[in-house]
Symmetry: C2
Subunit: 410 residues, 2 copies
């Protein structure tokens, strides 16, 4: 993979120019993209800033995120050839930092669950996950040092786990969603993919203008709650094994890891995530559903059909459960610096017809808390673990994740 921090260090040392760094990406894309199919469009004539803290960093932009000068097609024929006038807020911010929006990356239609043509960089017979398929695959394959995704259920953490890269789904609204196609305004969260946890932490600090995110350090003996999310179907052995390796690594690094059974309010909220996603999706995609229903692929259409049958009262009830569970979770974090849990049920499924199951991600998206995927080395196909912090404390979540990532490698 291409490490953002490594590229930046070489640029700052004068051994690599920003244009040279972009050329590295172009060469990697030329070599691997024909098989990977992670990109929808490339900016062949992109201006390459010479200065800025992200100069020389090529970014992949999920194709539901507006980028001036490139099409934004939402993974759907309904938006074929569509070109927004301007950049999404996060893209404008990245450009201001010197980064280059080099490519649009594949997305399932409207960031739902109909698979893209992208394959897993570690085995082309396996899904890269979704919905941020192209961003995860492009970073995992070493095409790009940074990519943008979004998560409404599990669309950042799960594909990062499948593709073997680091990722952060930050606290809700820490990165603006302005210029990002909405599926669920209460859930949609912009996230970042990069090679390692330090790379995503550095990028998040710059994107948000909050340097403390990058400077945070884990406590000397952080209190980590190991959560199995027993409310969901159990994971596969590879995910359990990765969690155990991460636990032992954390303990070697000095963390105090204890099993944590979540209060029942969290399971109750988890069960209701889908009511919020489907109800709001039906409203958010009202034009597409009403005017172009036949052009919607089957899975998103089915989700919207389900959403069409949810009453405002059911939705309000789900929102109230989510609100209540957020307060309960705040109490849980009084005793823990971070939660350690599964990123996905197992390695990437051996199919291109299914993007995988977000059951270990939905709760945390609804809670709005920062989630980090830490790749766990060892298996043929990547598996990651998820480090979760309290709302608004993205720096600490990333610091604990970095500690575990480092300990796993040593």
């Amino acid at each position: 993979m291409l490490s953002l921090l490594d590229l930046r260090a070489r640029i700052e040392a004068g051994t690599l120019t920003p244009a040279g760094a972009i050329d590295l990406c172009r060469a990697a894309i030329a070599a691997r993209e024909p098989e990977l199919r992670a990109l929808v469009a490339m900016d062949e004539a992109a201006a390459i800033p010479e200065a800025g803290p992200l100069a020389g960093i090529a970014v992949g932009v999920k194709d539901i995120i507006d980028s001036a000068g490139l099409p934004t097609q939402m993974g759907s024929s309904i938006y074929e050839g569509w070109r927004p006038r301007g950049d999404a807020a996060v893209v404008a911010r990245l450009k201001r930092l010197g980064a280059v929006a080099l490519a649009k990356t594949t997305t399932t239609a409207f960031a739902s669950s109909d698979p893209t043509g992208t394959v897993n960089p570690h085995d082309p017979g396996h899904t890269p996950g979704g919905s941020s398929a192209g961003s995860a695959a492009a970073v995992g394959a070493g095409l790009l040092p940074l990519a943008l995704g979004t998560q409404t259920a599990g669309s950042v953490i799960r594909p990062a786990s499948y593709c073997g890269c680091a990722a952060v789904k930050p606290s809700f609204r820490l990165i603006p969603t302005v210029g990002v196609k909405t599926y669920s305004w209460a859930l949609d969260t912009v996230g970042l993919f990069a090679a390692g946890v330090a790379d995503v932490a550095h990028a998040l600090a710059l994107v948000t203008g909050r340097p403390e995110i990058d400077r945070a350090e884990a406590a000397s003996a952080p209190r980590i709650g190991l959560v199995r999310q027993d409310f969901a179907e159990p994971p596969e052995p590879e995910a359990e094994s990765a969690l155990m390796r991460a636990r032992r690594a954390a303990e070697r690094a000095g963390a105090r890891v204890t099993d944590l059974a979540l209060p029942p309010e969290l399971a109750q909220a988890w069960e209701r995530h889908r009511f919020i996603q489907n109800y709001e999706g039906r409203l958010a995609l009202a034009w597409e559903y009403d005017a172009h229903r036949d052009a919607l692929p089957p899975r998103v259409r089915e989700h919207l059909d389900v959403g069409d049958g949810i009453s405002p009262a059911e939705y309000d009830d789900a929102r109230r459960h989510g609100h209540h569970a957020r307060r309960v979770l705040k109490g849980v974090f009084a005793d823990y610096d971070a939660i350690l849990t599964f990123s996905a049920p197992g390695p990437a499924p051996a199919t291109l017809a299914f993007t995988g199951d977000p059951r270990f991600n939905q709760l945390w998206t609804l809670m709005g808390v920062p989630c980090v995927n830490v790749p766990v080395p060892g298996d043929r196909l990547p598996v990651g673990v998820q480090v979760i912090g309290r709302f608004g404390d993205d720096g600490r979540a990333l610091a604990v994740a970095r500690m575990i990532e480092y300990a796993l490698r040593s």
Copy 2:
């Protein structure tokens, strides 16, 4: 003014066709629009549904709200000729109900405070208010029975007060903002303008699919807290007089009106509203600010310059104050069914160079609570009063507003 309920009653009685109702609007537009300058674009070939609970209802759509087939130009040369592909969620919903998106209405650039060319329907030397200038003026002048606006500070309730029509700024996110240009994601709220309170209540119930909003009734002796918002500069005599007339009308109708001094947390939140608006505006309009700064008119540019200087810590502090004040306000509503206060500091200022002061609106936008403008008859230039309900109880706020509106007329 054209009453939505009156038009619908005539259509249901068979004495008016939907096409005939649209023709009434076209005739009114032909007569008054040359002077009023409330409209940016008209859909001359709009399809007119024969059926649906809003068949025959022509809607004005503020020009920051996407509408397929019509330009959406944000009141800014940066978006000249811009045509979104689809409808905003609220526009799609209105069309599904049978309404016709007949016209785009003027907006200050990006719904900020640089005046439009629209004049007040009651005196062309006076502002119609802003930012939803065209929607308020078009309804107040009787051009349209329904119009969409947005409020981030006071952009729905204030222009409604100035133009003499009813309006509702519903609970936060009760109407989706999907497809609406963002200024501040924590504040932007879609609202409705119509002739009377019953008209906006009926429209809101249909738009949200929540019939209980329209069926709610005020308690037999509702407890109303009269709030003067002493933290802001005092109002002009006309606004004070309108508030007193509304108070007496409410008491005649059986309400128990008592003076209510708000807890200090609410004044503290009010002082911080602008930090949220300016900080988020700077992020939301990052592309416009970075790539087209010279094309921004002076007031919005100045607001964004201010936003550029606000630190994340100041913003976080403002958000925390807002969050805390919302909980305090919830406690206040344990003892009151509604709050009655000023809609605006006075009648529309005698200028077209200033859209008026939102100081009596900002707090309530930040609180996310439903606000209703009730026109108060009597003065040469309209003045309204504001009825405010608890979060999520839009029906009760509208019921109390309807009660006061009725009592004011009798």
